[in-house]
Amino acid sequence: MSDLALNTENYGTNPGDPLPRLEGHVSHGRFERVLKAGHFAVTTEIAPPDSADPDEVLKRAAMFDGYVDAINATDGSGAHCHMSSLAVCAILTRIGYSPILQISCRDRNRISIQGDTLGAAALGVTNVLCLSGDDVGAGDHPEAKPVFDLDSISLAQTIRTMRDKSEFLSGRKLDLAPRLFIGSSINPFVPPIENRADQLAKKIASGAEYIQSQYCFDMPVLKDFMARAQDMGLTEKSYIIIGVGVLPSAKTAAWMRANVPGVHIPDDIIKRLEQAEKPKLEGRKICAEIMQQVKEIDGAAGVHVMAYRQEKWVGDVVKRSGVLGDRKPWSPEDHSTSIGTVS
């Protein structure tokens, strides 16, 4: 980990310039630098606007300044139309942010996805997250044709082929390979729970170098999963980042549990929100507590804070949790090193 020279020399003069790729790194990005330096990473999710306004993207990203190491730009999440993930990422890379391009297999086939992968790398994107994607029926265009040409595992393999072999799936050569840090997702909280670690192994074998999990509200299940992953040597092969959520009320929590695919919230969390005098504050406390507990788990490399429509509270829960310690992640205004301030 000492290959990370923490000084401004690693950082270009223009924030949008790519960082030099460090030895042993697959990408030019600071997100990979943070993880490979052994820091406990914090990532979050930006909600792409229903707008053609780039300033709206920057405004939304600025809310996370100084609290997160990378920002996921969702790709038509819940099968709803929004600004594309690629465009959001391209706007963010211009001023130096480290966005994570989410690619869902729902809307594009392998021809389109490979083209976008090259385009993303050309626009300064250094991280991708490979997802299968929600079904079209979940969104506001249920009559759309679902594509699903690839699945998340084939997708990771595809991007790895492009990066490491410098060729398309067809075998046609690339002039310059896309230097992308490849990620995938996992949901340890839904059936088949006993096979989720095997599924994780497949994702890692397909090329996932980091993992971002679905919402974790159930520590015992997470601990079992992580113990299993560790026994299988998977925590050595991939940085496992655990998803955490900010719940605003018991009602929203119950609604999410019933209506958002793959969300598992135990009854005691809902009860705690119900009985709280200030449910919003309680929701943030729960989130911060879970973050602290995640940090204690061997092999957990970070947390991914998902706070849909609660984005303004991300900084608060990160601060409350203390998981960053003395570290302050890079932000456009304040960056003493390529990855932020580390004391």
């Binding site: 079904d135 699945d151 084939s154 949901n187 839904v190 059936p191 793959g262």
Partner: protein
């Protein structure tokens, strides 16, 4: 034939044996048929495969049959046609996020694989399907040497 499909997964071990025994015989016969008749019998042979596998496994005739590697649960019944599942949307009771009335094809698949002798094959990565093969007979493709006997594409084995 949803109920028969569930039965097939529950008795994946039996179907695995049956498949292992019958598949080479079918392929051998089809090799002979191919030599004598060429492509003239492709349609009835394909219809036969579709009928049989359709009744047993709700086969969708993707032409890239992976049943022996997916716990005898046909992945093309997954609404997202995921070949390396399950996805993260499985409901707490093990049913599909998209079709709540159906058990998740991949929850079934891992369950079926756990009953099989060679069930560990489910841990190998299956690359995305070759969509040109939709509607074609996997048996004929094996008989003609277009794909390996275990269903892996010849090209895929080199590439991935």
């Amino acid at each position: 034939m949803y109920k028969i499909r569930l039965f097939a997964v529950k008795h994946a071990r039996f179907f695995e044996g049956l498949y292992a025994a019958v598949n080479p015989a079918i392929v051998a016969v089809l090799k002979g048929v191919d030599k004598i008749f060429g492509k003239t019998l492709d349609r009835p042979i394909t219809a036969m495969e579709a009928g049989l596998k359709g009744a047993l496994f709700d086969c969708k005739m993707c032409g890239n049959c992976a049943l022996s590697k997916t716990g005898m649960s046909c992945p093309m019944n997954c609404p997202k046609t995921i070949r390396n599942g399950p996805c993260g949307g499985v409901r707490a009771d093990g049913t599909c996020e998209v079709k709540p009335e159906m058990k998740c094809v991949w929850v079934q698949g891992w369950d079926g694989a756990s009953r099989m002798k060679t069930g560990d094959k489910i841990k190998n990565i299956e690359f995305a399907v070759d969509h040109r093969q939709q509607g074609k007979s996997t048996w004929l493709r094996i008989a003609r040497g277009e794909i390996n006997a275990d269903g892996t594409a010849v090209r895929e084995a080199e590439n991935v």
